[in-house]
Each structure stands twice: as C-alpha cells, then as structure tokens.
Symmetry: D2
Subunit: 457 residues, 4 copies
Amino acid sequence: MSDLHEECGLFGIYGPENDVNVAWYTYNALFQLQHRGQSSAGIAVNNDGDITCHKDLGLVDDVFNAEVLGKMSEGQFAIGHVRYATNGAETRENAHPLVIKYHNGPLALAHNGAISNADKLRKELEDGGAIFQSTNDTEVIAHLIARERKETESIEETMPRVMKYLEGAYCLLILTKHKMIAVRDPYGFRPLCMAKAGKSVIFSSETCALDVIKAKFVRDVAPGEIISVTKNGINEIMPENPGKSHICVFEYIYNARPDSVIDGRSVYKARIRAGIELAKQYPVDADIVFGVPDSGSVASIGYAHESGIKHGIGFIKNRYVGRTFIMETQDQRIEAVRKKLSVLTDTVKGKRVIVVDDSIVRGTTSMQIINLLREAGAKEVHMRISYPPFMHPCYYGTDIPSQDALIACQMPIDEIAKTIGADSLGFLSMESLKTVLKNDELEEACKGCASGVYPDR
Amino acid sequence: MSDLHEECGLFGIYGPENDVNVAWYTYNALFQLQHRGQSSAGIAVNNDGDITCHKDLGLVDDVFNAEVLGKMSEGQFAIGHVRYATNGAETRENAHPLVIKYHNGPLALAHNGAISNADKLRKELEDGGAIFQSTNDTEVIAHLIARERKETESIEETMPRVMKYLEGAYCLLILTKHKMIAVRDPYGFRPLCMAKAGKSVIFSSETCALDVIKAKFVRDVAPGEIISVTKNGINEIMPENPGKSHICVFEYIYNARPDSVIDGRSVYKARIRAGIELAKQYPVDADIVFGVPDSGSVASIGYAHESGIKHGIGFIKNRYVGRTFIMETQDQRIEAVRKKLSVLTDTVKGKRVIVVDDSIVRGTTSMQIINLLREAGAKEVHMRISYPPFMHPCYYGTDIPSQDALIACQMPIDEIAKTIGADSLGFLSMESLKTVLKNDELEEACKGCASGVYPDR
Amino acid sequence: MSDLHEECGLFGIYGPENDVNVAWYTYNALFQLQHRGQSSAGIAVNNDGDITCHKDLGLVDDVFNAEVLGKMSEGQFAIGHVRYATNGAETRENAHPLVIKYHNGPLALAHNGAISNADKLRKELEDGGAIFQSTNDTEVIAHLIARERKETESIEETMPRVMKYLEGAYCLLILTKHKMIAVRDPYGFRPLCMAKAGKSVIFSSETCALDVIKAKFVRDVAPGEIISVTKNGINEIMPENPGKSHICVFEYIYNARPDSVIDGRSVYKARIRAGIELAKQYPVDADIVFGVPDSGSVASIGYAHESGIKHGIGFIKNRYVGRTFIMETQDQRIEAVRKKLSVLTDTVKGKRVIVVDDSIVRGTTSMQIINLLREAGAKEVHMRISYPPFMHPCYYGTDIPSQDALIACQMPIDEIAKTIGADSLGFLSMESLKTVLKNDELEEACKGCASGVYPDR
Amino acid sequence: MSDLHEECGLFGIYGPENDVNVAWYTYNALFQLQHRGQSSAGIAVNNDGDITCHKDLGLVDDVFNAEVLGKMSEGQFAIGHVRYATNGAETRENAHPLVIKYHNGPLALAHNGAISNADKLRKELEDGGAIFQSTNDTEVIAHLIARERKETESIEETMPRVMKYLEGAYCLLILTKHKMIAVRDPYGFRPLCMAKAGKSVIFSSETCALDVIKAKFVRDVAPGEIISVTKNGINEIMPENPGKSHICVFEYIYNARPDSVIDGRSVYKARIRAGIELAKQYPVDADIVFGVPDSGSVASIGYAHESGIKHGIGFIKNRYVGRTFIMETQDQRIEAVRKKLSVLTDTVKGKRVIVVDDSIVRGTTSMQIINLLREAGAKEVHMRISYPPFMHPCYYGTDIPSQDALIACQMPIDEIAKTIGADSLGFLSMESLKTVLKNDELEEACKGCASGVYPDR
C-alpha cells in the first residue's frame, strides 16, 4: 500500500512476419505493465523507416482504442511505455516515447529510471545551444545521442560514449530508422529482459508482460549491455568490464508484479521469504495474518506459513478507483484510504491480527489502516513491514520524499508504533533482507533508501 | 470468476442537515457498489421538491466528476444506481434512475431485480394506452404507479396495489416531491438495508457501502416492507402477512462483496463455510489451495483452514481492465482470460493445486483457467466450485444462459472435469449448501438456478 | 440579427433502392436546416421495421460523425430533426426524434411547432395515467397517438382524431414499423414540403435542404393534410374541409433561409419586397445602405434598388462563434455583439448610413449595433426594420418574450429611436407588410405577434 | 472561395495592471483572427517569469473554455496563435506557441510566415547536434535563438544575428522570462501591428482583432524591426538599413479580413478597387453582380458601383461547416461545394450574372460554382477574378500547389473559361493590380505567385 511510485514500464518488439501486429502486441503488453505507471501511455511504431507515435495522459485503456490501434497496425518495430512521473509534471509533453528527428534521421526513445546527473547534463547541453521542450530526463539522453553520434557510425557505436555521460538508473528502448536498441545501465538498477515469440524479438521491463502474447523469456539484459535488433539479426554488445547487477531490492518488495522474474530471481519467492523472515524476527501470538493488498499479500503468506498462524483476507481493495477529484469541504470527511480499502469485519472482529505491508513512508496511511482495523473490532493489531525503514533518498527513480517527511527519520520504531496505533511493529532488518535475495547477491543489490549506501557513489 | 451478472446496486439518502451533501455521499456509496453494475450509473437529487438527475453509460467515475457533482450539491434526498443490463440493451435510455412526471408530480425510481411478468404487464399497459421509451422493466413499474395512484392517497397507500401486479424480484428506491420510499418484494430475493449517519437516513443494496460515509447499519428492509422517509420522520409499513426471506443464495456466493452482511448473515462467513464444506466433501491430497480472484478467494481460505493444506495466491488479477474492444484477427490469439488473470508460477510449478471458483457456466473460462495452470507447470489441478451446478434459469435478475449453453445440462460432472481438463472436480452439494446459510433458513432461500424449485412458482 | 428562435427543422426520406443511404442523406439535409435549430440534433432510421435513433445536444456536426452514421447506414426510412428549445430545457431528454414503443409497435416522432394547449392535454393525459419523461410537447402527441390508435386501424385513420385534440402549430414526421407519415396542422403555421430524388420520397421543413441531395421539389404539404409513404406508394389524405394557409409571416422575414420557397412564395423575394416597401415608406437621404447579417442582408438590397442609394457591406459576421461561455468580471467588458459583428469602417466612416434589420425585440442589440457604427465614424445612422414592431405573444413556436420585455410595448417609435441611438427609425407597416406576401394572402397569413390577431383564436 | 491557406495569426499582450486578464484578452482576439488558421490554437502566459501554455488541434472555441482559461487567469504577458498548416502535418506537436527551455531560461515563440531556407537551416542545426520534435520551421528559429544567444546579451541583441540566417517571411512574437518581443522580417511579407488599450501593449497580425478588446491601433511594426516590451517600457529597434515593405498583395485580396488595415492600407478599399478595376477592364452587359462569399463579396460591390449593374446576393454560405468527414461511396454524390454554398435562385434565374471571386487555383471549385448557377437557371455566367492568374510558387507561406496543378499553367484564359463553363472570364491584370494598392507601392509589394518575381530572390 506504499504510495511510492517508480518511473516507468517498457516494452519493445520486432516482428519480422507480416501477421504480427506489433502495435497490438505492445498494447497488450503495456496493459500488463500498467502497475509500473498510470499517468501516461504511448506507443511508437516503425513502419519501413517511418516512425509514428501515439501517446497521451491516462491509463493504457484510456489512451488506446480500436481506432487508434487500427491506424498503427502496419509496422515491423514498436516500443511502448507507461509512465508515472515522480516530479509531478504530469503533462502531455512529458509522455513517452519521445520522438525526435536529428542528423541521423528519426529516433524514438523510451526510458525507465532516473538520470541522477540530469540537471548538470541539461545545463551543459543548454550551454551548448540545446533547447528543451519537456522537463523529463529522457530529452537529455536524446540530446546526448544527437551530439555524440557521428554520421559514419552505428547507434551501437555511439551509445557507449553516451552512457559515459549518464549517471543513475536507466533502461532504454530506442527505435531508429532500421533498428531497435535495448540498453541497460552498467549498474543494472532497473529490470529489463529479452524474450521471443515465434520469430519476434521482445524486450520488456518485467516478465509478467510476456505471457499474454505467449512469448518465452530468453534472458535478462546484462548491466551495461547494448542489444540491437534488425531484420538481419540480433547484435549483443557486452561492456568491456561488465559490472555486477545492483538491481533495486524494492523492485522485489513492491514495484514489480509478483509473477515476474527479475535477474533470475522470482519476485514472488522474494516476498514469501520476506514474510518468513518477518515471522522469524518478529513472532507474536495472534489469530490471523493478512496483507495490505496488493503488495503486502504475498509476504503475508510467507508469514503465515512460517508462523503457523492462519492466513486470511482482511481487506477488500476497490478495483474501480479512477481519476480522483476533490469536493472541497465534503472531501475531508471521506478519507482516501476508506475509498480504496474496506475491512472484512468477520476476519478481524475480536481477533488479534497481524497485518503485513511493504513500507511505511509518512505514516499517515498506516495510521488510517490500523484505524480501520480497530473500528472493525480488532483486539490487537501487529504490523509487519517487509522492508527496512526508509531513511535515505533514492537517486534511481523511486520518489521517496525528503527526510523530514519520512517518519522513520523522525522517531525510533517503538514511537512509530505508538504514532500509528500499532500494538507492535516490526520492519524487516537489513540483516534479514539478505535472505530475501541470496546472501552473496544482496551485497551488490541496491538498498540505498534503507542503508544510505549507494552502488555508484 | 463467473461471467454472470446481477442487475444492479441501489443507494438512497435523506440528509436533513444542510451540511450533508446528499449527491456526494451517494456518489461515494455507489463507488462501493460498483461490483453490482458497471454499465451505467446515475444519481437523482430532490432539492425542495425539484428532482434533477444525471446518468450515463460507464463506470461511476466515468459518469461523475467534480463539475457534475458540483451542480447537484444542493438537496435533501438523493437516490443512486449502478446497473448491469442482462439483456444487452446497454443504452443511455436504459440508465437509472428513471425520472418521470405524472399526475402526482415528479417521481424518480431506481430498481434492482427483475420483474418476471414484465412482458405481460407491458402488453397490458400498452393496450391501456401507455407508451414506453426504454426496454427495461423499471418503466413498467413507473406506469403501474401512475395508473394506480389516486390523487387523494399517499404513495405508501398506492404501493401495495402496485406490488400486487409485480412478480419476481425487486428492491425499489423512489423519490417523490417530498419523500423517499424504499420497497422490497414480498420474497426478499434481493438485499436492501437501512442505515443511519447522524440524522441522515440511508438505504443501500449492501452494507459494504456504509463504511465510506461512516453510516451505521440499522436493519434489513423486510420482505414486502415499505418504508417512507420525510423530514417529519420514518414510516415503516409491514405487509399484513409478512413472508419469509427467500434471499438469493448466489448473492452470498458471488454477487455481494464479502464485507457485506445480508439479512443478518455475513457474506464472508458464508463463503468460508462453503470452502469448509468443499474440503469435507471433496478432500484431495494437494500442495496448495487458492481461489480464482476475486469471488473464489474467501472460499479457498475456508478450504485451506479445514483441510490443513497451505493457502496461497495462484493468480494476479489485472486491475486495469477497462472498456475492452476487438481487434479482429489479432484478438483471437490473445485470450480474454489471459488479459485478466496471470498465474503466479512459483505457487503452481510442480505442485498439486486446488483451485476454488464460484461457478461453472459454459465451461470455457474454467478450461482456460486450468490451461493457464498447466502451462505454468501445475502437476495436478483439482477444481472446487462453491455452488452446485447451474442447471435452471433464474427469474430474478441473474443472467444465467439457456440450458443448452450450460455445461452442467450437457454432461455428468466427471465428463465436465475431463472437458475442462481438471484432475478432479467437485461442486458444493445441495445438501452441503444448507450449511452455507443456516440449515433451517436454506429451506426458504432461493437456490432455483441449482434446484429448479422457485419460491414463487 | 434577431435573437428570437423558432422551434425546429424536420427532414424525412423513404429510399426504396439499396444504394440510398437514408441516414447520410438526412444528415446532409439537417446540415442545411441547421439555422432552424442549434441546440440538438437527431436521426431515427427504420431498417426493416426496427427503429434506431441517435440524438444529442449540439450542432449537427457535433452529434454526427462517420462512426455514428456508419452504424445507421442500413435502412429504408429516416427522419431527422434539429431543435432550438424555446423554454430553456436544453436537456438530452428533450432532443428529437422521440422514439416510443406502444401497443402498435415502435414509433418515432419529430415535431416542428408548438402545441398551444399542451399543458391542458398533458394534465388530462396524466390524469388518465400517463407518465412523462420530458418537458416537450412532442411527448404529448405521442401519448395521444397511443391512446387514440385502435389496433385494427392504420395510423392515417388515427391521426385525424389526434389532430382534433391538438391546438397550435405542428408539422410532424412519424416513422412506424412500415411507414413514414407527414402531417401539417390545419392552419399551416409552419412550412413543410414534399420532394423526390429518383425513387426516394422526401419531406423537408424548407426547400433549401433539397439541393444538397439533388432532390426536386414536388409540392407543399397542405394545411391539415396527412401523407403516408410505404414501399407500395404514397397515400395523400386531404381533410374534409381544407382551410387556407395561415403560414407565419416571420418565416419569410427571419426564420427561413432566403433560398427557400415556402407555400409557393420565395423567401428571397419577400425580403426584397420588404426592403422596397421600407424604402418607399421611410425614404432618407444617405450615402450607403446595408443589412445586419445575415437576416437583414436581402432586405437591404431591396432598399438599395428602390432608393437608388448604393448597397454595401457594413458588417463582418464572425463565422466561428461556438459554445459561448462566461468569464465573470472580464466578460462584462467584452460585449457579445462585438464578438459576433465587426464594422467595416471604410463603409461607414463619415457616411450617412441606412442599416436594415429584421426586428427589434428588447432594443439592446440594436443599441449596440448603432453604437458600433457610431464608434466607426458613421455621421448618421438610420435604422429600418423589415417587420412591424413585436407587441404580442406568439402561440406557435417563436419565443417572443413577455410584453414587459418588448421595447415596442414600452414606448412610441420615436422614443425607441432615441433609446437605441438612431437618427431615424422605421418599421415596416402592417399595411406595407401585405406586399411582402401577396395582398389577398396576407389576410390569411399569421402576423399575430405584430397585430394581436390570431387565426385560431 | 479560394481553398488556399496562409500559415497563421498572432496576438500578444502585456498587461501591467492587475485587472487585465491577458489570457482572456488573447482568447477573444484569437477568435477574431480565426480566419487566419483553423487547425490549431494556443496561448502561452507569462506569470512572474513562469511560462505556461495551452494548445491543441481545433478551433479557438474547441481548444479553450472557461475551465482552461480560468487556470491561465494570472499573468502579465500572453501570446496566442491560430494555425493552418500548409504541409498537412496537422499534429498536436506542431501547434503553437512553441515553449522551450534553454540556457537563458524559458521562451515561448509564435510564428506567422514561412522560412524558405528552413530545410537547409534544419540540416545545419542537426549537423550541429540539434534534435527536432516537430516538422514546423518555428522550431528552427528556436534553435537558432538558443545557439546564437550569449548569456551576457539581451534577446534584442541576439535577434539581429538570428534574422541574418532566416530567409522568407516571418512575424514573431516571443515571450522570455521578463519580456515580450515582436519581430517582423526585413521584407515585411506578413502583417503585424502594434496597439494599446489603457496601459496594455498589444501586437496583432491584423487590426480586426483590436476592436473586441477596445484597443487602439498605434502603428505597423516596420520591416526588420524588433520591439521589446517590459514592465519598464517599450524598446523599438529599427534595422540599420531599413527596407521597404514587400507585403503580400494577396493578404489584401484574400487572406485578411476586410475590416483590417495593413501597412496603412485598408483591405476593404483594396478589394473595392479591385472590383472597380475588373469592371473597367472586363465590362459586360449583365443583370446582376455578386461575389462568392466571403472573400469575393467586397470586390463585387466595387464592380457593381463602377459598372452600374445592380448588386445582389447570389449565394448563401453555410455557417456551420465543422469537421468534415468522408462516407465512402455516398460522399461522391454530395459535392463539397454544395454543402458550403447554396444559390439564391431568385437572384439568378433567367439572369445574366457576373460572379466575382478572388482566385482560380485548380479550376474545380469554379467549375462547381458555375454549375450551381447554371442549375439555378442563370442565362449567362461571367466570372471575374480579383487577382491575376496563379502561375508561380509562393515561398512565404501561402500553399499554392505545384504548377502542374495550377489551371493557369495548363491553358490560356479563354480555354479556362470553357473548361469551367463560364461565358466570359476575366482576371485582374498585373497592370490593374497596381491600382489595388497605390501605384508606387505595388512595385515593392510581393506578387510573386502571379509574376514569378520575388523581392528576395
């Protein structure tokens, strides 16, 4: 039930056979990546070198319909994007993919991540005469490509020089006149995988988008890797000194869908293990355990299995929450969380309940959740959080608020418990977090928002 | 995961104090009743005797926004409606509430149920000179009210005569110039309850809509009862020979939200008991049990608790399914069920799984669900259905298809299992169904779609 | 430049050959009748007995597009309607055609005019048990048809009885299961003509809609006449005692398009004659004469030709005026008339100008028009009005305001001239008005809004 | 009735007083400039250095409404734009104003004209690393500004260097953090004037936009002039060697509204003079003369006055033409010109008519117009064109088609007459054209599309 947002979801496809409607496949895949971005959606299609793009604010199903997709039905390449903007600039201009024309022709670009030195690069580019029409860092990348690319070289030859400038997290899908390129930053902060469906070549932020189009997972794109796809085949370019994956641990806890497998590790299993660790670390005598839907649900099963306490369903999540709007005075009386979550009183009444959630940010949502449970008659409410407390910023695209808004920066855990009204409260320890992935790998994975230690700093 | 649909959800409110925005409260409540109807939504407001209405095709959040609600912010009474049409006539004309003018002034009418003799009544009314502008049976009720009501009598005096003509299931909310009336048919097929919030009087199809506006449940409207609300108070008119409740059992199994309490019985508990009974009746050695979301989820907990088999999450349900549309040839390759449901492979792979669902209608959806599980590596798939086989029509508003489309009318259960690809298949028996409610009460409750025996025939 | 509005425009077509798209023809014709109603538009199509209807608020081109018309492309009959509501009830419910089902099947109804005893009929119908879903008098007519029609008789046999109840002005187009019926009230207040295009039979409020679909005018529908069209032919039913035409004179002066011919008289010629009469009656020494576009333009040519004064163009009318909206304080500074009309300074500056308009209602628009001319440097402004002063109500569908709002009821003409700032002012006299039509016929034509004498009272 | 289109209309305002709503004034002015562009509209507002922009495809009244303008109500500067794209790229990306961020902060840019060396400049800029997100030449200008502007200089110091690169026609309105800048190209191809309203400073493509906001014309912006407006005052920068105005003559004949005054010459008077010259040059015995609305109307008055032949109204132009769309086979039968123009038969029947139009491009429209007149019974049709034949391209923003589409490049004038069905045909001669402006000035004015001689080539 974290209100945090990651930046985006990506999908790309090359369909050599005429009967593959690349825009239609991309639309269906974006639909499965919708959890990675609900503020805008877009698809760019390359049909024999002509790139057209449709994008707008809204959900995938708001932006695309049969008429729009009908006009995009011809093409050999498509890239698609769903977006959540961390900086509030929810404008049409910021929707992806970005399509530009430059000295090497047309180029479409979709990006997931956050360029941590974007402001500096933007300033340098502006000083060099560049103009910007949006506030997102994808336009910075496009300018760098335009500046760096020599007319005689391929985009694959350009990209390593571009990547030298970029700091932070980025997965990129790029369409040029004759190619689709996939790029993952050298630290591998954000996920990107390659798949196949028949003769089609596919890239996707998460594996959960593959099944709907019956694609088969091939492998993850490696940190620092560049893969280009043309009608002549696939060209895989590994960096000279490949680094290890520093994948964001919070992808496993919250961002990704539990049916995805990222960098070889199942999101589902990671959450189950997080629940198991919570049960070991913070056992408590209780009648029932359940998660806050959706992200706490799987971890609560792990807790239940480990503790032997019965697993149940404590909340109904309203599936129809659309564009929320404000009705001044009246609105204050109807709390947002009440609109989204309804308690199953029979699960809770007179019971000692354990409720598992993925994180506590400001504390207000947790407070309202516990309040709902108390109103429904819970005798005790024990909250378990499947991630350590947020205490540091994220430089890689998760919109963790500033430290003065983070409750864990303001008070010790027992006081948080009191503030939110929990009988007990446990956060997964940094130590236990290791088990969520595998021990040796956790050393590498990014958990900077909890530890303050960052792979690239 | 039944594709069946019930007709509607109702909500009404009288707010004597000026600071209660009756339209806003109705909007928020309809939002919680959205599962009872996704094809149209509407609210009629009575402001000092003037009735205005806003309604359209679409979800509650498609039809209403701040601007529309802003124009309806004055008023003492409001009734709201969400609708799913069983007959396919998804037109704007058929949206509710219906607002008419007749010899006693304006009248707004919202209806949940199905008048089984509507065609006959419509014919009679037409023969008497009536004209119809829609195809729904609510207009039949409006005509009967207009025909029966004498100028010297109150609407409460008229309604018993109107009800004598009506057969089938109906809960009604009616606004007149100075009153709100709630009516429930003498068999009580569909749910309707009364609640209070401060000095406000409320009616709602389900209790799950009460919490968001902090209303307190008072009691269920009794079968055959008429309740009128004016600024002078509440007038409760019981029928002379009150019948017993013949509430639809399938409301408990599928239609209603599990956090609702209907006619004194918790929907959640009924589903848990259905799961327990299934476990008793159809035990099987397995590794994991889970439900088909959302309606199978609670029953699967009952099964798990009773059987001792671990409870898990087998499917992710995509929350963003909007207006679906068709892309001709391409669409055939992307099965609808795949767009809505994704398997959690880790839950399933190499496992013997028990999957609990609420019903099997044509069999195609179950076949696709089992197919998804097999693809994900399930070793065995045992399906348990928390309701007996559908073998008969429903005359009260659930759109069960004709018998030649019902798989249970075509073949014995073991053959259904083979057809849908299940290793074993069990339907809750009629006998066990008794336990879902309480034994003595089940005799009265309507389970005609399973038994072929109907309370009013 | 009158702000008055008449009620509606009608068009109907029977197309026996498969290659006639009746909805498309109706759409194109409505487009030419748009001046008769800009608030809503609708088309009902009869395809082998099934009647479907599309209608909404807005201009013809807002309501209809290729997708909507594509769905209506099959059919043998269509009736269409554009509407301006005189009573302000600009709701979707009031849009036409009205489609009902009654004991004789489906029926679609489009109406131009105003039933002057509608309130009384509505009351009687309500007392007889009728319910109303709109506030327009078309629904009254539908109820009367339903009440009067016997199952054994044809609609043509029913209509004379229905017409006995109706008072006021009405032209009707009706679709039944197998027929299209055209009806004109016994006084012939509003225009309706019959035309042919190939084997297609057509009815239209004005002849100006015929050219776009290359239809040929056949004749006007006679007062009191009923004409029915089926695939077997045309049935023309004249009333037993046919009355004379009492066509509204203001149709010629303002309502109709100048390229229409109504009841055998050219609208253009009537306006030219009105201009000539004004020149005879109110000669003045001036440099230039022009009309207030669009309705004053033709009369100003008559004035110029008769007087020998040069004809010019004094105003540009902005063609893009759409949905107007209000911006509070700022709006007061930008007068509505300034947005619609711009003066051609070169025509006016230092000149003695004669400006011809069709009417003066409240006087405010005329005041603003003269003010614009003065600002542009006109030395003298002489206003000529091609109709006598409005001093009485209209019972037949033109929304003349109440007498206390009519400037001509408040003061003598010379004072009106002073009030609006004109150097001189002349209204066409009742006497001269005779010449606009032909002398003998004017006795019959309705000019009640000027004379207070009404054909049916 | 030319189907030619010019590029755009511009409006800008600085409003120092708090009670001037600059966006609202700009909206009202754009509404009066709508004839200069119907494909998109936009307004950028500068509020204390923050620039926000709203723009979209559609008419001014489609793009703006009370809600949108309400959000833009604060600000000291605004620039607005209406656009017609000559190259068919009617995309949202191409709508104006263009808003960018570069090393000197934010900048909004609106442009009327056509940069004739845009492709070359674009190529150079791309080679220098620039990226383009649209296909319009305004983005080229923005890149040049960004490239040329030094951080220590003012935008007024930069613009002369930018203008050295630009060839062709351009009027620019630019918003920076603290200024509004107006620029007109050294040849003055397109119009731009300065005005005042109270303390507000205004720029507008045409004077016809001034009246609605009660602004007073001050002077035309001179060819090559740069004017900057800040809260501290107005800075007028004349080029060192100012050229003469080479204003496009066709602005007077067709593009501009007749109530505008451009470069000191009244558009109305120019058209009257064109009509007079046509009457002198091509006299013919006839009964009536009229124009093809709207652009031929004024010239027809000149013809009438000079020839002594009666002036009339021959056509009604349908005011409601909206988004036109195609209905396949049916559409061919309904000619576009028939939808827009209706003949006034009474003006034409049995008459020898002179019809005045502004130009003949391909000949098809003229052919249809004459056909309509013949159908209506015209005995003779004499066509007079108030401009010489189009025989050469326009490099300054008017979309004259290629020579093989221009009828005047295919055949002599007498053959054109035969082809379009005219009894006689006369084009204003190059010689007579001089009189339209003043003799000495015509030498300078651009009439390249007729003469093939261009001021800057």
